[in-house]
Amino acid sequence: MRHGKYRFLAGALIVPLTLYGAFVLSPYLQAFQLAFTNWNGVDSAPEFTGFDNFSKLWDDPLFLAGLRNNGLMLLVVPLAVIVLALALAAGTRGTRVYRVVYFFPQLLSVAIIAVLWQFVYTPNSGLLNGALSALGLDSWRQSWLAEPNLALWCVMAVMIWSSVGFYVVLFSAAMESVPGDIMEAAAIDGAGPMTVFRRITIPLIWESVQVGWIYLGIAALDGFALVQIMTVGPGGPDNSTEVMGLGLYRTAFTFGKFGYASAMGVAIFFLTLSIAVLLLRVTKRERVELA
């Protein structure tokens, strides 16, 4: 190999590593430090307050509301998306045109999706109430985002709407790599389509499904953009759509409590990490090898 290797390496790596260090690594590390202070962004020296911020989190009704709502999203959204996507992926075998259509929302910015659905849910001129009236279901009309019992479900519906298509494509690509003769053999042995799906297709594509659980689980702990743009307040009505990310954003950039907001960030980090590890454990299965 030619000499000058280290000069080349240094020249190639200095810029990316500086960028990464300044904008990614150092903020992450600083967040852990700030979380133990009461810094408000003005005083030059932040005061060390130990675990005060973290114990405050447990008495903060807004943060607890966010925790509860993210928890509900975590229970509902990944399961709904995976079930729907598996069903649609199995159904679209051989008909690609559906997948092309289903995938499209994946390409839209979550901000654009939020604005679009805000219009859909608008009480008087929105698509949803209009559709209900057209179907003769006038009594079902609602001010969707203004009802504390409904608003969070409306947000979750949008999350599901926007993510199903991606997993349809992911799962159907995996399904296509399942050899047809295995399915045929099972069918000859008398297995019905449901049994083949449950006992053969699902185990063989499990790796993709596992990826889905983890991505969707992490996404369910976010929800910031949808809630911040779509809901009244945002986070309302009555904190019914509050999410942890919104609480952090507000605490930092509206109230200037940067130390406390960093503690929220640390809490969100540990929650995300635990959920990812937990989902990895729970969804772990013996890998099926095709000989």
């Binding site: 280290y6 990316p16 903020p27 069903a87």
Partner: protein, 269 residues
């Protein structure tokens, strides 16, 4: 069979209906929008579109987005490929440490970094500037890009590079003339992945880009939804929404196969 197709069609309708409805509404007058969500416009109001483009600054937002996304995408791809290549093909002390430090960036939620990041960018005087956003976008796209391309550069055969070295090529020459062209399929996949990710950013510009003249499209549209809503120029807002959707729709029509393959292969990595 019947129920299967009914189910598939139902989901296709659920996906497309809100989009088609927004398109139709973008040609209606405000009065028509409030009158009935279903009826098509009596005569198409092209004026909505020009109003959204000029008065509501959608044109300006698109321009900002093209600059920020174009700049950060180019930077991410160059730096990401270079970093991945060095870490994948050169032995040096600290190689593993650097690789895992970079990859660790994918584990952390952006919310954790948000507060300190705001002050880092503020202290550099880069809040609300194009170059500030470009640098931050590139820094956050770097871990995944390096991770994806690292595997790719590893799998390339070494013989071609060795032959080039014997022919007297420099290290940089081998990277740019030999290895980078061989990594093209991987670059395309990760490039599509990054493009969409950067185009759709909302949280970072929301915090780091407070200057309305520099708003990117997702941020600008969300801001319009609040302010126009108050002034109730609904038709203009619908037009703005459709204009914001059109570029990705067009890209999808032309490159749909590559886009789906690029995004899903990124997820499985």
């Amino acid at each position: 069979m019947r129920t299967k197709h009914a189910f598939l069609t139902l989901w296709a309708v659920l996906v497309t209906l809100p989009l088609l409805w927004a398109l139709m509404s973008s040609f209606k007058t405000d009065a028509e929008i409030f009158d009935s969500p279903w009826t098509p416009p009596a005569s198409p109001q092209f004026d909505n579109w020009s109003r959204a483009w000029e008065q509501a600054s959608i044109g300006q937002y698109l321009f900002n987005t093209v600059i920020v996304v174009g700049g950060s995408l180019a930077l991410t791809m160059l730096l990401g490929a270079l970093t991945a290549y060095c870490l994948a093909r050169y032995e040096f002390p600290g190689n593993r440490f650097l690789y895992y430090t970079l990859i660790a960036g994918m584990l952390f939620p952006v919310f954790l970094a948000l507060v300190p990041l705001f002050f880092v960018v503020d202290n550099l005087g880069m809040l609300g500037t194009y170059h500030g956003l470009i640098l931050v976008y590139a820094a956050y796209a770097l871990p995944f890009t390096v991770f994806f391309l690292h595997g790719f550069f590893r799998s390339l055969p070494g013989a071609v590079a060795e032959a080039a070295f014997i022919d007297g090529a420099s290290h940089a020459g081998v990277f740019f003339r030999v290895m980078l062209p061989m990594a093209r399929p991987g670059m395309v996949s990760v490039g599509i992945f990054n493009f969409l990710g950067l185009w759709n950013q909302y949280l970072l510009p929301r915090v780091l880009n407070p200057d309305p003249d520099h708003y990117v499209i997702s941020q600008g549209l969300a801001a319009l939804a609040v302010s126009q809503g108050a002034r109730s120029d609904w038709s203009g807002l619908f037009a703005g929404l459709v204009i914001a959707i059109l570029p990705v729709l067009l890209a999808y029509v032309f490159f749909q196969r590559q886009i789906r393959a690029g995004l899903t292969s990124g997820a499985l990595k």
